[in-house]
């Protein structure tokens, strides 16, 4: 155990003393989150929206005023017919349409319940989603203000509709996506490189010719990256909650447990690559081409899997990040629990077991 600790300590020295690794480790997730995050919020600023007000009553007026006052929106035109909506959307200038039904205020007063429709252009999924969120927030605000003086609360129900991409694939997916990417990068590539580096510099030779069990060398090298990856997960979540205001709806404990599982999957993969290669360059290439690229392509993060040709959909099933992506998205955005995610979890566990076993099987206690 003393040996193991000494090893882990040494590993941290390596990481902390290598400025470039540090930058990749911690700079990259932060940069990615911020780039994605701000690219989005810039988009949303001063978005032109169309208001279709069939009600023309006090309630609808108030809400429209609030929307107009918000720095995110510019109410440009008040069209009256459904036909106008479609044609303005097609012009491409309008990002969203807010529709109040004719008896909006009436419904509120008599039924304590009214509907308002939010239609967005979902070709740009992320923006559409942001806008929906902001508009809903404004409406909810109004509702809360009105309810302060009422014994029976009013309920305004925004009905959101996405035009052109109604299922909203990939929306808000970038935080889970970045998480999968970063963990892949840190756990697969960094681990593989750091083990192969020992082979390259010849220190592996000395370690092999020592009483230290070779397999422990591998575990001792992987362990620090587990810690570093968990720090990264925390950093990403922190940024997404506080900088991007994207809360974690589900259980944080479950999210960390699933992340740890995925990190172990990645570490096993990193170990496997390091066993099979002898140079840092090749380890890096394999990690990049073999792991990062599929993660980007097949996890559903950038390209919806449903739109892919069938053979590629099949291929996507063997990419661990696809399952992790589904899990994180479900926990963070949908707030689902383990009951809904057991299938994906079991698949990830299976993959991890498989990778660990082939890594251990192919591990060599000599140089060849």
């Amino acid at each position: 155990m003393k040996q193991f600790i000494a090893f882990v300590r040494k590993e941290f020295y390596h990481v902390l003393r290598d400025k470039r690794t540090l930058l990749i480790l911690f700079g990259m997730p932060i940069a990615q989150i911020l780039i994605f995050g701000f690219a989005l919020s810039n988009e949303v600023k001063d978005s032109q929206i169309l208001v279709v007000d069939y009600a023309r009553d006090d309630a609808s007026r108030h809400i429209i005023d609030r929307v107009e006052a918000s720095r995110y929106f510019e109410v440009c035109k008040e069209a009256m017919s459904h036909k106008d909506i479609l044609s303005t959307f097609q012009e491409g200038k309008i990002k969203a349409v807010l529709v109040f039904p004719a008896d909006f205020n009436n419904d509120l007063l008599h039924n304590n319940k009214a509907k308002v429709q939010v239609i967005t252009d979902a070709t740009d999924i992320n923006t559409a989603n942001m806008i929906t969120n902001y508009l809903t927030a404004i409406i909810t605000d109004y509702q809360n203000d009105v309810n302060e003086n009422l014994s029976i609360p009013y309920q305004i129900i925004p009905e959101t509709r996405m035009l052109y991409n109604p299922q909203l694939k990939g929306a808000h997916g970038f935080v889970p996506g970045v998480m999968a990417l970063v963990l892949m990068l840190v756990s697969v590539m960094m681990t593989a490189i750091s083990i192969v580096k020992e082979k390259e510099t010849g220190t592996m030779e000395i370690l092999l010719v020592s009483p230290f069990k070779p397999i422990l060398v591998i575990f001792a090298k992987a362990f620090p990256y587990l810690i570093l990856s968990l720090i990264n997960v925390s950093a990403i979540l922190f940024l997404s909650v506080f900088a991007l205001e994207l809360p974690v709806k589900g259980s944080l404990v479950l999210l960390f447990a699933e992340s740890t599982l995925f990190i172990i999957t990645c570490l096993s993969l990193g170990i496997f690559i390091s066993i099979k290669t002898n140079s840092q360059q090749i380890a890096m290439l394999i990690s990049l081409m073999g792991m990062l690229l599929p993660t980007m392509m097949f996890s559903g993060f950038l390209f919806p899997i449903e739109n892919m040709p069938y053979p590629l959909q099949v291929v996507s099933n063997i990419i661990p990040s696809k399952w992790f992506y589904i899990i994180v998205k479900s926990i963070m955005i949908k707030g689902l629990g383990i009951a809904a995610l057991w299938k994906e979890t079991v698949i990830l566990i299976g993959m991890t077991m498989f990778l660990l076993i082939i890594s251990l099987k192919s591990f060599k206690i000599r140089l060849e």
Binding site: K2, Q3, A6, F7, K10, Y13, H14, R17, D18, T201, G202, T203, E205, I206, L207, L208, V209, S210, P211, F212, I365, R366, L367, E368
Partner: protein, 301 residues
């Protein structure tokens, strides 16, 4: 009991296409300083790696401290010290951190065996907070030796410890090896420098994966069969060319400021005149004792 015993080992690479070690046998006694002398690519590193259990021989057997290098690799790994050819410590760790790390890996502490490395460590101790990557060649080598010694090995394997190191550091290094030998540690060392051969108790000359000769340096030199002459002239290049064309020359080559040569019938009576007639001046011819390098050159021919 012998410390190292090698029986007809052969090692090939690329599915047998490259023969790195070809039917090599030798043994090293306990407490001996044994040198494996030969150029790059002679097979020295392969032999070291087989003895340190890092590679498996294709054929043959070998033992270290009586343990078989294949079956008993764990015992061997516990008891030997190994310094690979390349500087193999962590460049981004300090001297102190490297030493402590290797001590822990070998399940010991620096204090426990400090007496073994004291002589060497005091020379680099003033720089103990410096990272290994920032050390000079000589200092790196001393640190590597400390790390290889820290667990009190019975046998020390040093693969080309002095390659690329300047003559002063090389000399100091060999003095350290001498002192370690006095403490009873068996040392097997390889080097491409012929002049270091005379510092070993016994040496094996190796080339192309084959051992040319195993003996004490003195015996190797004494059994040199021909009379060897050292010849000097003011015009070195012309001298070398002229010696080559001299009909009685059996072998000639440059050797420092002299040319060394052996002749058929060991007759040099006519040589002086011949050289003068070819325009050489300042001619000096003397009968000399062969060196290890002369023996090696003869064996290669």
């Amino acid at each position: 009991m012998e410390a190292i015993r090698v029986n007809h080992i052969t090692k090939t690479y690329n599915e047998g296409k490259v023969k790195a070690v070809d039917d090599v046998s030798f043994s090293v006694g306990k407490g001996e300083l044994f040198g494996l002398i030969g150029p790059d690519g002679a097979g020295k590193t392969s032999i070291f790696r087989m003895l340190t259990t890092l590679l498996l021989p294709d054929k043959g057997t070998a033992t270290v401290d009586g343990f078989d290098v294949v079956k008993d690799f764990r015992q061997i790994r516990n008891s030997v010290g190994y310094m690979p050819g390349k500087f193999s410590l962590y460049q981004d760790l300090t001297i102190e951190e490297n030493l402590n790390f290797f001590a822990t890996v070998f399940d010991t502490t620096v204090e426990q065996n400090y007496h073994l490395i004291k002589d060497i460590y005091v020379q680099i101790e003033p720089f103990k907070k410096r990272r290994a990557g920032k050390l000079s060649g000589g200092m790196k080598q001393k640190l590597a030796l400390c790390c290889a010694l820290i667990h009190k090995p019975t046998t020390l394997f040093l693969d080309e410890p002095t390659t690329g190191v300047d003559p002063v550091s090389r000399k100091e290094f060999w003095e350290m090896l001498r002192r370690l030998k006095e403490q009873g540690i068996t040392i097997m060392v390889s080097t491409p420098y012929m002049d270091e051969a005379s510092l070993c108790d016994r040496i094996a000359l190796i080339q192309g994966g084959k051992i040319l000769s195993v003996d004490t340096p003195d015996n190797i030199v004494n059994t040199y069969p021909d009379r060897l002459y050292a010849i000097k002239a003011n015009e070195m290049y012309l001298l070398l060319k002229t010696l080559e064309s001299y009909p009685d020359t059996s072998n000639s080559y440059a050797f420092g400021e002299y040319a060394h040569a052996t002749f058929k019938n060991n007759d040099v009576s006519e040589l002086d005149n011949y050289l003068s007639s070819k325009g050489l001046s300042g001619i000096e011819i003397k009968d000399i004792e062969a060196t290890i390098e002369d023996s090696f050159i003869r064996l290669l021919h």
